[in-house]
């Protein structure tokens, strides 16, 4: 029984919000959809490629994937990965390998705001579970789900963000390039933050 719970836990944690190591075609994520860098991003891509030797274009895969992810609203469809593969002149599978390796490359749709609640032991002692519950109840979603308007939430286990390291609560927000943390929250504060985000303001 414990074993089953443990494996379930493992699956929950490691799971879907980033994408399985297998791609399943869906109407909004399949190789036939055309995808290209925007013109500004094409310039940025060229600039990125200039950092690396011309016969080792594949070294630029990570910055280019990051650029593609930002262009695509926080996640990488398979057609974006194929396009990056064409830009750096490698087989697509090599790009897939890199994208599945790194946890910050999301291969399924994430919401505009990606909220993570730290669940490590120190934060748990200070009540992160209640914060998580409050957040979930307020948003009306379960863990690793996207709300109707694209707010997204997940509970990260064992993540000590390097900004924090203080052992306080932290709620990490990822919004395209916005990477900010708010620490030392209470359940009420969390709801305030979410409302602020809904209104489009940056929380303090």
């Amino acid at each position: 029984m414990l074993g089953r719970l443990a494996s379930q836990r493992l699956r929950e944690i490691r799971q879907v919000f980033r994408g399985l190591p297998q791609h399943i075609d869906s109407p909004d994520n399949n190789p036939d959809l055309p995808w290209e860098f925007t013109d500004t991003n094409k310039e940025k891509a060229k600039e990125i490629l200039s950092h690396y030797p011309s016969n080792y274009k594949q070294s630029a895969v990570i910055p280019l994937l990051d650029l593609a992810q930002q262009q695509n609203g926080g996640w990488l469809p398979v057609s974006a990965m194929n396009h990056v593969a064409k830009v750096i002149e490698v087989a697509p599978i090599r790009v897939y390998e890199v994208a599945t390796f790194y946890s910050m490359f999301n291969r399924t749709k994430v919401g505009r705001y990606h909220l993570l609640v730290c669940g490590t032991t120190p934060c748990m002692i200070r009540g992160s579970r209640e914060i998580e519950e409050a957040l979930l109840k307020h948003l009306g979603v379960k863990r690793n789900e996207v709300t109707k308007d694209g707010l997204f939430f997940c509970w990260r286990n064992g993540m000590h963000d390097n900004n924090i390291g203080t052992g306080y609560f932290c709620v990490l927000l990822l919004h395209n390039t916005l990477l900010s943390t708010t620490e030392d929250v209470t359940p009420n504060r969390v709801v305030e933050i979410v409302e602020a985000l809904k209104r489009g303001e940056k929380p303090p």
Binding site: G3, R4, A6, S7, R14, L20, P21, Q22, H23, D25, P31, V78, V90, A91, P92, I93, R94, Y96, E97, T100, F101
Partner: protein, 745 residues
């Protein structure tokens, strides 16, 4: 695929033409000072022999020293060994006779170093060293049997077995599994893992490769094979940590023609043969070493059979021809040997239906008809899969009857068998590795001879060789330049006008490969003369290097031309009244007169039987002992692996019996007798397993050709469907599945 397979890897190429002397490693005596001063005493003492037993390299591997000055000495378990510089510790240990366990290392793939099973202890090194990746330095003391090394192996094995499912009873690899063998030999007897094992979703790689990815130990051999040898970058390692999976990420089938080799390469049962799944265990199977006949490469195979049934085909090591790989067609066409077999002689009755008769009646009927026909109306066609003995018998029989209208399928109606160098691969398949520029004319090696293509790819990858291709647009798994589609490109090349010509003329070892599809063209002599002109201009034909090659399509073509199966007239089919098809299914019989009497002697009821009047059942290549010459002129013999079907007989025996019934008894009664007959015609066919190079080159001896090339006809594809090329593959269900799902549209 256990340690036995490990042990049977030849380390280095033993060049067959004995150009470099292999140096067998002998025990080296330790002498401390050169015996200048007391030569007498030293001689009397002989040499102080350390009491170590003589070590032989693993599996009789031979070491090739490319640069005799660059030799270093290392000590393996106290035993000194001389190795060329640049070898890894694992290779040094292999030469010293010590077999180090490994999962991810493969001698023909790049080094990965991720399994850590090959850890050995090296003096002065703080940690055990991954011997597959560590280059051996001079004076290194390598220890493979110390407690540290043993503990390392046990630990690695324990880790590997942690997430490995308990599938041995249902896993096809049981009995030939590297993991099983190495855990028995090097692992500990108990594990300490009490948690839940991870499991992985199975991937669909096609109708040939069955995947149970839970068993995968992430050695990445298949990934490296697919990228390096097969040239299709389909597989990759996705995810990380314990969640790593080998897959294609998107749903993609492995369409490469070498995809079946990952089955051999995978050390565990993650990638296994789908047609062979759950059919047999490897200890039930009897292996027979034989030769593949689906194409002209003559890959060495081992036919594993259980009783009368061929269960699977696996490759045999042959450094000069197919290394360790075989194409998918070779590997999986064996189920065609069980279907559509002809097992009784049949005669077509007056109502058009076949009736089974006895041999005596069938032969009597044939003999009767053949005597009623004029000699020049007798025609014989040898099929793609005919062996040299039967072709010799057929030719002798027809000649005794007064006819010389005999040819082999695929050679065209007017073959030129005068000079051997005009129809074989003069460079040798192994020699292609020395070429630096390739010119492929009218040939798509990927579908015609997959192993030759693998060799070209190996060369292109290793030395960045340039490849120019003249023919219809085709799929290649290496970089190539598409120079043109027809003979006009050849004219441009011969006159030096084409931009690729500069690459050709600057090449040290240019190789021109002409496809045998050109044999069917009317202007083939003109094309060959233009190609010879190109060869002369770029100095491709020299005493030390003959770069002008012909890539044949069928297993029987080279032997047929060696034996002289050249028809008297080109129009033999139109005037034939008696046609003897010996396994010939792809011959165009449109022009055959309606009253011609056709005898079909073969093993499958393929296209040839539709027009036949008499059917004589023969045995297939897996059931007879026959000599086949491959496209480079190397004669090899098949060995009967299974008994033949029904009342079928060997081809040459049928013809010998027919000759007796017809009254023109051929003078041989046994295999050795017919082989001595062959020795009078083409003695190179009896030099089994040795490549006999052609003595004269065509460029100097061929007469001038008056005709012009037909520039309006571009080169075509000789092999339309890779999976269905002869009677056995057309009868195979697996090939039909492959053709439906894997053929490139």
């Amino acid at each position: 695929m256990g340690l036995g397979q490990l042990a049977s890897r030849a380390l280095f190429r033993s060049t067959r033409l004995a150009s470099s002397k292999p140096q067998l490693l002998l025990r080296r005596a330790i002498v401390s000072t050169p015996d200048l001063h007391n030569s007498g005493a030293a001689a009397a003492e002989a040499q102080p022999e350390p009491d170590l037993p003589k070590r032989n390299p693993v599996a009789g591997a031979r070491v090739h020293f490319p640069n005799p000055d660059d030799v270093i000495e290392v000590f393996v378990d106290g035993y000194p060994v001389k190795i060329p510089k640049g070898m890894t510790v694992l290779q040094a240990c292999e030469i010293a006779g010590v077999d180090i366990p490994r999962f991810c290392y493969h001698s023909r793939l790049s080094i990965a170093g991720n399994c850590r099973m090959c850890l050995v202890e090296v003096e002065k090194s703080p940690k055990p060293v991954a011997s597959c990746a560590m280059p051996a330095l001079p004076g290194m003391k390598i220890k493979t049997d110390t407690p540290l090394a043993k503990k390392a192996r046990e630990g690695v094995m324990e880790f590997l077995l942690m997430n490995h499912p308990l599938d041995c009873p249902i896993c096809d690899q049981g009995g030939e599994c590297d993991l099983q063998d190495q855990s028995m030999a090097f692992g500990s007897d108990r594990g300490r893992f009490t948690e839940v094992k991870r499991s992985v979703v199975d991937k669909n790689l096609g109708p040939l490769v069955k995947t149970v990815m839970t068993r995968c130990i992430q050695c990445t051999r298949c990934v490296r094979f697919a990228t390096e040898v097969a040239g299709v970058q389909d597989l990759g390692m996705l995810g990380r940590g314990s969640g790593e999976e080998i897959g294609t990420y998107v749903e993609k089938l492995m369409t490469s023609e070498l995809s079946g080799n990952v089955i051999d390469i995978c050390p565990v049962g993650a990638l296994t043969s789908k047609p062979f799944a759950f059919k047999a265990r490897n200890w039930e199977l009897k292996g027979t070493e034989s030769i593949d006949v689906t194409d002209a490469v003559g890959s060495n195979i081992r036919i594993d059979s259980r009783g009368p049934e061929v269960m699977r085909i696996v490759p045999r090591l042959n450094e000069d021809i197919n290394e360790e790989w075989i194409s998918d067609k070779t590997r999986f066409f064996y189920d065609g040997l069980k279907r559509q077999r002809l097992n009784d002689p049949m005669i077509r009755g007056a109502d058009g239906r076949f009736k089974t008769v006895s041999w005596r009646d069938a032969l009597a009927v044939v003999a009767e008809v053949i005597h009623q026909v004029k000699p020049e109306e007798i025609v014989g066609v040898a099929g793609k899969l005919s062996d040299a003995e039967s072709m010799m018998a057929l030719k002798d029989f027809l000649n005794t009857m007064g006819s010389n209208n005999i040819w082999c399928e695929g050679n065209g109606s007017n073959p030129n068998a005068d000079l051997r160098s005009g129809y074989i691969m003069n460079t040798g398949i192994n020699g292609l590795e020395k070429a630096d520029v390739f010119l492929l004319v009218g040939t798509q090696p990927r579908t015609e001879a997959a192993m030759v293509n693998a060799r070209i790819r190996k060369t292109v990858r290793a030395t960045n060789a340039k490849v120019g291709y003249v023919g219809p647009p085709a799929d290649f798994n290496y970089d190539h330049e598409h120079l043109g589609t027809g003979p006009e490109t050849l004219t441009e090349l011969s006159e030096g006008r084409h931009p690729f010509y500069s690459a050709l003329s600057n090449a040290k070892n240019p190789a021109i490969i002409v496809g045998a599809g050109i044999f069917g063209r009317n202007d083939k002599d003109a094309i060959f003369s233009v190609i010879e002109k190109i060869a002369k201009n770029i100095n491709a034909v020299r005493p030390d290097w003959n770069g002008l090659n012909v890539l044949l399509l069928n297993a029987a073509q080279a032997a047929a031309l060696d034996l002289g199966l050249v028809p008297q007239s080109e129009k033999s089919i139109e005037n034939a009244k008696f046609l003897y098809l010996m396994g010939a299914d792809d011959e165009n019989l449109d022009k055959l007169p309606n009253d011609a009497f056709v005898v079909y002697q073969g093993h499958h009821g393929d296209r040839g039987v539709y027009r036949a009047n008499v059917i004589l059942p023969a045995s297939a290549f897996s059931e007879k002992e026959g000599t086949y010459a491959n496209t480079e002129g190397c004669a090899q013999t098949t060995v009967p692996a299974v008994p033949t079907v029904g009342d079928a007989r060997d081809d040459w025996k049928i013809i010998r019996a027919l000759s007796e019934v017809a009254g023109v008894r051929l003078p041989y009664d046994s295999l050795s007798a017919i082989r001595s007959r062959i020795s009078t015609v083409a003695p190179n066919l009896l030099n089994v397993d040795e490549r006999e190079a052609a003595a004269f080159s065509t460029s100097s001896l061929r007469p001038e050709v008056k005709e012009k090339m037909d520039n309006s006809a571009p080169f075509g594809t000789a092999v339309e469907n890779f999976y269905m090329t002869d009677s056995i593959t057309r009868a195979s269900k697996i090939m039909a599945q492959c053709s439906a799902s894997l053929s490139k549209k």
